[in-house]
Symmetry: D5
Subunit: 187 residues, 10 copies
């Protein structure tokens, strides 16, 4: 069974956030929806565009009560340096977690052991700390942060309306389905 | 390390496809891109909308040389029955694999052991049989098949243009990035 | 030692019964005689005739206080769909248990691991939950539900008349045997 | 998985048959259909009626090419003595196997370890030595040998007509079913 | 170390004795001397003469307070049948234990595993349940029950006269030996 | 299963025989019948009378082609000394094996581990080195060597007349039994 | 036993050197003396002064034929970025190895598992790849690269003059000691 | 992870110090800084010059509150003899520990198992018994005790000024660094 | 580590002493010095001269408070017989322990497993039951009991004068050595 | 079983002999008798008198073709120093083996693990490398080398005269014993 449906394990880490060094743990994930985005390495190539894309969606995510965390095996020192250096990464306002001991990366099973770097995995986590959706791409294929918005909205809708489910391609304000015996074989 | 970057293991199965019962194995994945979509159960609620959505994108996927497979723990008999019954599923033209022994579902680590059903996982596989992208959603959150189109285009572009990578939100015909020493810390 | 003479282990499952989804567990077997009939798969060939034959004997079994359960590795959703589709199965009034996690099928040791399907086993269970008789046929050989009637009558007679046993081919109202020292070697 | 569908393991034993002591092994099961009937003990109560009932069907079974073997943990000496003593058992013409080492009884998993006696199991075996049907009853419930006739006829019909299956309650000369895609959900 | 000098382990069994079925356990061995005689099988050849010979000495053994038990792997049903049939065995008045589960036979290490039958062992047991003498013969060599009389008399004499021992060929009323330092090397 | 019916294992030892030290091994047991008599200790009390009694039967045993060996955990030096000292033991003409390493005593399972001495066991062995009869007595109960004569005669008779068996109390020149189907239950 | 006297294990890694990304392996250590200096993290505090100090001694080390490598768990991307950013590190001309998979750090047993960072270890390696000297300091205590010069000179002198050893505080051109029996206890 | 940062394990030993035999244990390391210097063998060649060099720095080390211990696998008897014999070693005032059981040498992982001698390791230990620095040289390369002075001064400075760190080549009275966010990438 | 310096383990045994059979255990060794002399076998060749030699020194050993025990794997019966027979052994007044179970011989690790006999070991034991000296000779080489006198005197002297040691060849009334720092290297 | 009668295992070591450092191995023990004397430590108290005593007997031992080796856990350097320092040890002409790795000491099972020193064991070894005699004394009790002379003479006599044995207290030119049947119980 994949991580979807399981609670996130325990972790603690140093992070860089808006000019400060802060501590983050699994406890900080509780009480609100979260996105954790893993990427291979600071100062590498595809990565900054993905971090920038996520930042571009950050205010909209925040308006949905979603907190955002990026994670790589670099230290928080390197996160700050990258933030200082890179135009794209310099815009980032969310929390950049340093995981040099690779504990969080292992926790989400996205460690490329050969390289010692994280795979490009994104995890959407509900306020109970349970993974609701995950996506992992190979190197070379960038992510699209706007796709996470709909998944979170669907998750939030279903959490708020027990007994209803969102069909494929569901978008906010569209009809949902209420499972029932009479639907069997009828869709 | 996740399945991304690993070759799909060996399997063989009975399937239903366009009015016929056919056999499918991991060998059939070689030589073209593939999408394998797992879903919990025939005749359940969200599932038909996801299968329909995937069918709606099937011709476009085929034009990219992509073959599509759906998998659940139901038998191929039940797949045919559902195909006969359901308006949404009745449209499906791609291959519907029956996996009652749950071997394929285990191979992709999406078996919910408690329920004996597959989780909602989608896997994009390249012509060498290597997983290039994966996505798993909790029950209640539908998938959006159109998102797979861009990932496959990006994967195909990168495979065709060694040394270039697609940035976040990349869409066909947009500029890609060529990794180089001078890009470090400059994006 | 076979399952005969042993108590049925613990299980719980979803089932379809007369237009409703219900939950069933080993606790429901207590207090009355039961027949549990395993079959390979919904929407397959021999199976519907066996379910129909069992239904044809259902009222007579009920008059003996016997409850009837069919089990396959299909879900309860599929059971409903089959019930809706098939003329033969549509008559079924007894409980159709869905066992996609294959726990009950394993409990009765009738899982064909290669196919992931149940073998054609029938189990007669007394009000204490102890197996009193079992029968398993290879694929291709149908069962005859009327034969279970006499076995249950014999079992009920012996339970009601401690110290007597039913001879071969015994039928209701025929004489039974009372074991005694003087019978040794005299029959 | 039960014994149905598996080949009978190796064994050899002494037996009593029509006034002679003979040797029997699993090799003797090949080339014709066989019934092996286990019962608890010579000189006990229900047992003679079951042996007699099996004898009453013996000529009809022989006409179908079926050979019959009874097995208990008694010696072949005791079988002869019982045959000499008992009116019912004295009629028996089939082979009475003595299994004091309980190897055959264990091979078919019908040993009641506490008592050291066989359970009331019947096994129908095809000419390849593969179990096609099995039935086990608790003490107190007698068997009905005539029921085996139909099962063997069905097995023989299916073996002779590959691709057809016998429905429930099937009797010789009745129609069989030929599995096909169009039958799915249509019976 | 052999069983001589060790206490008999726990057992319980059904037996035939003088027209009745009775239960026997290791507890019944306490408080008096006992002979337990194992033999291969009821209705076999040497066995009845040995049982008869033991019966011929039974009254004399009883006058010494000795109880006698015969044991084979046959059931008590078969014992009764043999008793009814055989002229020699029909005289037997002592207890004939049925050991189809072979537990007692194993307890005394006289099970021929290949045949599932008891070896021809005789055990003399004192009132504390401790084996005082044992004798086992191969098939083909009959036993002589009268020899047990002297052994029991010697055992009883030594038990009654602590500090004395019976020399070879000792017979009742003959002199015994009282061990002492002065006897060393002087006999 | 007891040692009866099993071949004697390998051993070699020093022994005293008629004024000489000789070597003895299991090879020496082949080609003729043998008696091996174990006793606890040289210079102890019951033992010399048993050795003397065996000597008194030695010429008769030799005339049957039987060789005789006594064994204790004492050395062959001590055997010679005892032979020199004791009037009873001084008569002994058969082979007195010294087994200080207790290997032969263990081979026949008659080692009293607590005392380091042999139990009073006697074993009759056929010309193939297979044990045909055994007898073990507790301390305090002497043996009677003349009883071995009949057992050896019976064993020799049966070996010479395959298919016949000696009944209980059989003595030379008496009738034997030829097992046959017609004897079952008729003695 | 410490690593001193042992050959360096196998490794391969990406590195940054004078404006280029290069590959380095244990093979590159052969044929000349090497210094490998581990430090915790790029962009941290003590580290740049140590790298600068090592650079200040680099030309003198090169004139002795010594190659220099720094190692941290950061990637080679981060090394380049730090080299670009930091005035002190910007001077570095030797090879900066990236070890995000921590394999080299583990190979030299200087991984602080809790933090996922390297300890401040320095290793001097001879042309056969054997460690000749090692030094590890706690955080907070800086190293002094000039001390390595004398150790390497001593090592090179001893390698060139077999049979002589350098005494404590030895400096180039000072007398060495030639071990001999007459020196024992005389210094 | 190396020993740096770990507490010294438990040990106790006999030692020679200034004309007396004394006992030393790990408890004696607490409350002051310590140097433990291992060397291969008394009466060997490089060793005396290293002990002499350490003695030359002893008064300065004592003024810093540092206690000094030398350790080899020789006994304290041999230490005294060497102290008596050797001009260089005769000057030694610090404690010379005898470790013939090699327990302390193993504790610091500097046992050359093949030779049974200690490697040339030096360990600087803080008042809590935690190793702060270590250095090991191959045979043939002498140590320089004066280098330890600066390391201890740096360690003492940092212990006394929490939050400051000593840069490379730091010498007493030079500036230290206070880590802070603004220093990242700026040195 | 050898047995010297270790406490003798627990044992108990029968023994012959001056015309009587007595029991001996490890408890009897406490409170006085003891000699335990093992030898292979009673009635063998070298052995009696060694027992005689030990007897010749027995009165002198007794005057030192030493108790003497001889041990072989023979029984106490055989010891008495040998004592009666042999002129040399007949003089023995000390305790002759019989160890047929070989437990004491194993305890002192002098069992020749192949022969089952004791090796020629002598053990000197102090009043606390601790072995102070041991000597073992191959067969063929006799012992000299007078040598034990000096060892016991030296042991007793050292026990009475803590802090002194007896030099080589020490004899009663000669000077001993008082260990002290000033003796190191001066003898 | 003790080391007596076993071949010495493999070893190699550095040693000091008559002003030179030499290598010694188990191969050097072959072809002549040897004495190996273990002692705790150079420069300790009893030890020098024992080495001196052994030297006093060295010429006589050499005339018997015996080679002598002393062994302690000290190095050969320390042996030389002790030889230089000590009047008693300075006389030693035999080989002084250094065993700092304690391999030889373990081989002879005389390592006091707690102290890391050898126990005072002496081993007499024949030209085949087999231990013929051993002696171990507790600390405080000196050895007497002259006692070894007689043991070696006895060993040599017996080796030269197969079939004879030396009685206790045997001295050169005294009568030996020739074992024979007639000697049993007669000495």
């Amino acid at each position: 069974m994949s991580l979807v449906g399981k609670k996130v394990g325990e972790f603690s880490a140093h992070a860089y956030r808006q000019g400060e060094f802060v501590d983050v743990s699994d406890k900080d994930l509780l009480g609100h929806w979260s996105i954790i985005m893993f990427y291979p390495a600071d100062f590498s190539f595809v990565c900054p565009t993905e971090l920038e894309d996520l930042q571009d969606n950050y205010s909209q995510l925040q308006s949905l009560g979603v907190e955002v965390y990026s994670v790589s095996a670099d230290t928080h020192f390197v996160h700050k340096a990258w933030h200082d250096d890179s135009e794209a990464v310099g815009k980032v306002e969310y929390t950049m977690i340093g995981d040099p001991s690779q504990k969080i990366i292992r926790l989400f099973d996205v460690l490329d052991e050969e390289q010692g770097l994280a795979q490009r995995g994104t995890f959407i986590i509900d306020p109970e700390g349970v993974v609701q959706a995950m996506e992992i791409n190979a190197d070379g294929i960038g992510r699209n942060a706007s796709e996470y918005l709909n998944r979170i909205k669907a998750g939030q809708y279903v959490a708020a309306h027990p007994g209803e489910v969102c069909p494929a391609k569901w978008k906010e304000d569209e009809a949902t389905l209420t499972p029932g015996l009479d639907l069997v074989g009828k869709i």
